[in-house]
């Protein structure tokens, strides 16, 4: 397989035309096509919320690897998921710095407030909760990441405000 020949646009696709075009290009950028796998998985998840079976199948085909190969890689990364998350995915860090500054209590607080546990989704689909390892915000521990946004120096009260702001967004 030569990397210099541009493949024809992949069709039919389950992704938006913009993302499909981006993927068509992405697989040509690296010396080997499978180098495009991780970014593709992330973009696909951003667009449809999780990595569905059909997303996995299409990505495998686009790269020319097996679905098993795709699953091997995606299961390695805890940020990639194969089940839908809530509209707002609340990731609470309980790694050492956060733990020392109340990360666990924060997690328990979220569990009580949202009525769900690790990797669960609220019945209205607005929130999901995840306990995660260090998210690189140790200096301002305890820290929480909601989708791609960070919230730090949190207390249970401050966390309530954060959750409220997202609930308001969901109702917009």
């Amino acid at each position: 397989m030569s990397a210099t020949t541009l493949p024809a646009p992949f069709a039919p696709t389950i992704f938006s035309p913009e993302l499909a075009a981006r993927f068509d290009k992405l697989v040509t950028l690296y010396p080997v096509r499978r180098s495009a796998l991780v970014p593709m998985l992330l973009y696909a998840q951003d667009e449809i919320g999780y990595l569905s079976d059909s997303a996995i199948a299409e990505i495998a085909q686009r790269i020319g690897i097996t679905e098993l190969d795709v699953r091997n890689v995606l299961s390695y990364y805890s940020m990639l998921r194969t089940k839908p998350a809530g509209k707002f995915n609340v990731q609470v860090c309980t790694n050492i710095s956060c733990m020392l500054r109340g990360g666990r209590e924060l997690l328990e607080h979220c569990e009580r407030r949202l009525g769900i546990g690790h990797k669960q989704v609220t019945p209205d689909g607005v929130f999901s909760l995840e306990e995660v390892e260090c998210i690189g915000a140790c200096s301002w521990a305890p820290a929480v990441q909601v989708n791609y946004d960070f919230h730090d120096n949190l207390t249970p009260e401050a966390m309530d405000a954060v959750l409220e702001s997202y609930r308001a967004k969901a109702n917009e």
């Binding site: 097996t66 098993l68 190969d69 699953r71 091997n72 299961s75 390695y76």
Partner: protein
């Protein structure tokens, strides 16, 4: 490569540069423990069991990835190393269950052995062990995650050895888990290689799982009874009420020419032998038209009496004999001798799946050009004309993949359809279904400008090869074979292999189960009837007796059973086949796993088979033929050379011309062999085969030591014009079928159904 000299545990050793420390040590008898390292597969360095101390290197090094270097000083067993290995074991055991008492691998487990050796009996871990339930992935493969030590052997053998890539690894750290390709099940070739290589009991087979302990089995190495490749398989058998029953097959000791390889048939399809439908009593047709059990004496006496009467009343021409492709050479040889001698008939044949006589004829006297299955592992270039080795010749496919991986061999494929081995091919030429004869003609022809560019290109690439192994099957028959041979002989050093379908297809032909040839392709003066001609003759009431040994022509050819109504039909078989159902006498026979002798694989490699199991109530075909002949009043010594020479003087006083028995005795003495004492000793017939059949005078001691011996037959000068190729019928077996035998293997049938459903789902 140049040799380097280094020191291991104070011993000075030498090995070619580039040799891995672990291999160099093993070659010198120094064992370095290893879980992830597996010879022939890519390096993984995942388990850290092979750590050794190499002077001037800061940390312990993995012996499985470090090549030896000039002047290296290596220590393989110091207290530091022992401690390191013990710690690794402790980590591996952190989540490992205490399953040894019930685990299939118990007693044969590399983790057990290592723990025993390094004594990681205690554990500092107090957390609850991760548990996951055992999963079934296919009719063959089970996975028990907690036992897995993540050595990746299974993943690599499936990717690299099998080129199936059905196993992956998912998640990470202590949650990492081996995963099958179809989410919760395996869509694959079901070879069981992954199970075989697993150093622990994480992958187990349904066939063997929780059935027995390895030390309760007797282990006998013999040859697989399925395809024509002739894999060695070590059968583990256990005493049961009705004999010695086989419970597993593998070649873990790598003792045969197949190394550790076995396909699904060799590994699991031995269970036909334990099928409850096995015949264990002779059946004789009663006046009411039904088959009923009979005593052995009566059944054999009846067969002998009728054979004698028919021979006397209607002559040998009204009799026919059909042999099998799964009996031993000794039995096939004896059967043709019985037909041509006591039965006085030339009507003898078997289910022919390829044109060996055409091949022998085309090769003429060029016997140095016969290939062996071993050549597929080493030949720098291979031409594959037709066929699909992945389905029909799994060992050939395995060898070709291995050769490609290790030596970068160049594989050329000419086929009318896409086949899996094209993944490894240097060049592929797609031709039409009927285009094989034309193709080989154009290979042999002097330059032909009208040739399509693609074909010309393919041919030119082949012409540039020095050592080409040319493999072809039943697509080429009769006169179509000659141009291919002619082309090969024009190259500096080509070898040939002709593919036939069953375990002893080649032997059946070599031993003269053919209306036009006696053993060793010696032409007969009066050609008898072929198998289809015998069936036609029976339909015309011209065949008064038919003796079928281990074949099912009625079922296989879809014949109307009525056509045999006026023929006295005797069938020797394991099962009540369609043919047996219309027989007058049915004699229950032993399978290839229940007798000793030799078989010849399709490449002409002669190998010994050994009795690994038995079923109460059955007899070998060899014994049955002899008993029938004996009851007919024939001289058994004329059929089987046993006992001393006629006059017991080894022929010395009257020279070697004094009679067959004395000639045999002289030959035995000259070959340092003893006369055999019993007519039922297959070695007595092997002696005669070696003495009389061209090509079979191989090194007997090497053969008995288990080294396959090449059979090289030269075409006799009186070779007939036609080799009777019109009655060839390829079996068209897949990986999951095995002629008329496969249906009696429950496991093979189950796997076949399972994979067929996968194919259906995939097709939508």
């Amino acid at each position: 490569m140049a040799d380097v000299t280094f020191t291991v545990d104070g011993r000075q050793l030498t090995a070619p540069a580039g040799t891995l420390v672990i291999e160099a040590c093993r070659a010198a008898g120094i064992e370095i423990p290893a879980f992830c390292y597996y010879p022939g597969l890519s390096l993984q360095a995942a388990c850290r069991m092979c750590l050794v101390r190499i002077e001037k290197m800061p940390k312990l090094q993995t012996a499985c990835t470090t090549p030896v270097g000039e002047g290296m000083v290596i220590a393989t067993e110091t207290d530091e190393i022992k401690q390191a290995r013990k710690s690794m074991l402790e980590l591996l055991l952190a989540n490992h269950p205490l399953d040894c008492p019930v685990c299939d691998a118990g007693g044969e487990c590399e983790l057990q052995d290592m723990t025993f050796k390094y004594g990681a009996g205690g554990s500092k871990f107090t957390d609850i062990k991760n548990h996951r339930d055992e999963q079934q992935w296919s009719p063959v493969v089970f996975f028990d995650r907690p036992r897995c030590i993540l050595c990746y052997r299974c993943v690599r053998v499936c990717n690299e050895g099998m080129d199936v890539a059905a196993l992956g690894i998912q998640f990470r750290n202590s949650g990492a888990v081996i995963a099958p390709n179809d989410i919760t099940s395996l869509d694959c070739e079901q070879c069981g290689m992954c199970i075989d290589l697993c150093p622990v009991g994480a992958l187990t087979s349904d066939t063997y799982r929780y059935k027995t302990r390895p030390w309760e089995l007797t282990h006998v190495g013999t040859i697989c009874t399925h395809c024509g490749d002739g894999c060695k398989t070590t059968l583990g058998a256990r005493r049961e009420e009705n004999g010695m029953q086989i419970v597993r097959g593998d070649n873990r000791d790598k003792s045969g020419m197949n190394g550790d390889f076995l396909c699904v048939k060799g590994r699991y399809a031995f269970d036909f032998a334990n099928n409850p439908e096995r015949l264990t009593q002779p059946l004789v047709r009663q006046p009411d038209g039904k088959l009923a059990p009979a005593r052995w004496e009566d059944a054999i006496a009846l067969v002998a009496r009728r054979f004698r009467e028919i021979r006397e009343e209607r002559g040998g021409a009204a009799m026919g004999v059909i042999g099998s492709t799964r009996i031993t050479n000794e039995e096939a040889y004896l059967l043709q001798k019985f037909a041509r001698g006591p039965l006085q008939t030339a009507n003898i044949d078997h289910h022919r799946t390829t044109d060996y006589p055409g091949f022998v004829k085309a090769l003429g006297g060029e016997t140095a050009h016969f290939g062996s299955i071993a050549d597929a592992l080493t030949a720098p270039a291979i031409l594959l004309v037709g066929g699909d080795p992945t389905e029909e010749h799994p060992l050939l496919a395995w060898n070709l993949r291995t050769n490609f991986r290790h030596n970068g061999s160049r594989i050329y494929i000419a086929n009318h359809r896409a086949i899996k081995l094209e993944h490894q091919a240097k060049a592929t030429l797609r031709i039409s279904y009927g285009g094989y004869a034309d193709l080989v003609r154009s290979l042999a022809a002097s330059d032909d400008a009208s040739l399509p560019a693609e074909t010309a290109h393919f041919r030119d690439a082949l012409r540039a090869e020095q050592n080409l192994l040319i493999v072809f099957g039943a697509e080429l028959r009769g006169d179509a074979i000659a141009p291919l041979i002619q082309f090969g002989l024009s190259l500096p050093a080509a070898k040939f292999a002709c593919l036939g379908d069953f375990a002893n297809s080649r032997g059946a032909m070599d031993m003269g189960l053919h209306p036009a040839f006696t053993p060793g392709y010696q032409a007969v003066s009066t050609v008898g009837l072929s198998l289809p001609q015998m069936m036609d003759a029976a339909g015309r009431n011209e065949l008064a007796a038919l003796y079928v040994v281990g074949d099912d022509p009625v079922g296989r050819l879809g014949l109307a059973p009525e056509s045999l109504r006026n023929t006295f039909l005797v069938v020797q078989d394991m099962f009540l086949t369609a043919t047996a159902q219309v027989a007058d006498v049915v004699l229950p026979s032993a399978s290839l796993y229940e007798k000793s002798g030799t078989v010849t694989n399709t490449y002409g490699d002669l190998q010994p088979v050994k009795k690994a199991a038995d079923t109460t109530g059955v007899r070998s075909d060899l014994e049955l033929i002899i008993r029938i002949a004996d009851q007919m009043g024939e001289d058994i010594r004329a059929l089987v050379p046993f006992g001393r020479g006629e006059r017991g003087d080894m022929g010395q006083s009257r020279g070697v011309q004094s009679g067959e028995a004395d000639r045999h005795a002289v030959w035995l003495a000259a070959h340092n062999l003893e006369p055999k004492l019993s007519p039922f000793d297959p070695d007595a017939l092997l002696d005669e085969i070696q003495r009389l059949v061209p090509g079979y005078d191989v090194d007997r001691f090497a053969l008995m030591a288990g080294e396959p011996q090449p059979v090289r037959v030269a075409a006799g000068s009186n070779f007939p014009v036609s080799t009777g190729s019109e009655s060839i019928q390829p079996a068209n077996d897949t990986l999951f079928t095995s002629g008329t035998l496969g249906q009696y293997s429950e496991k093979l049938t189950e796997v076949n159904r399972f994979q067929a459903e996968k194919t259906l789902v995939a097709a939508g």
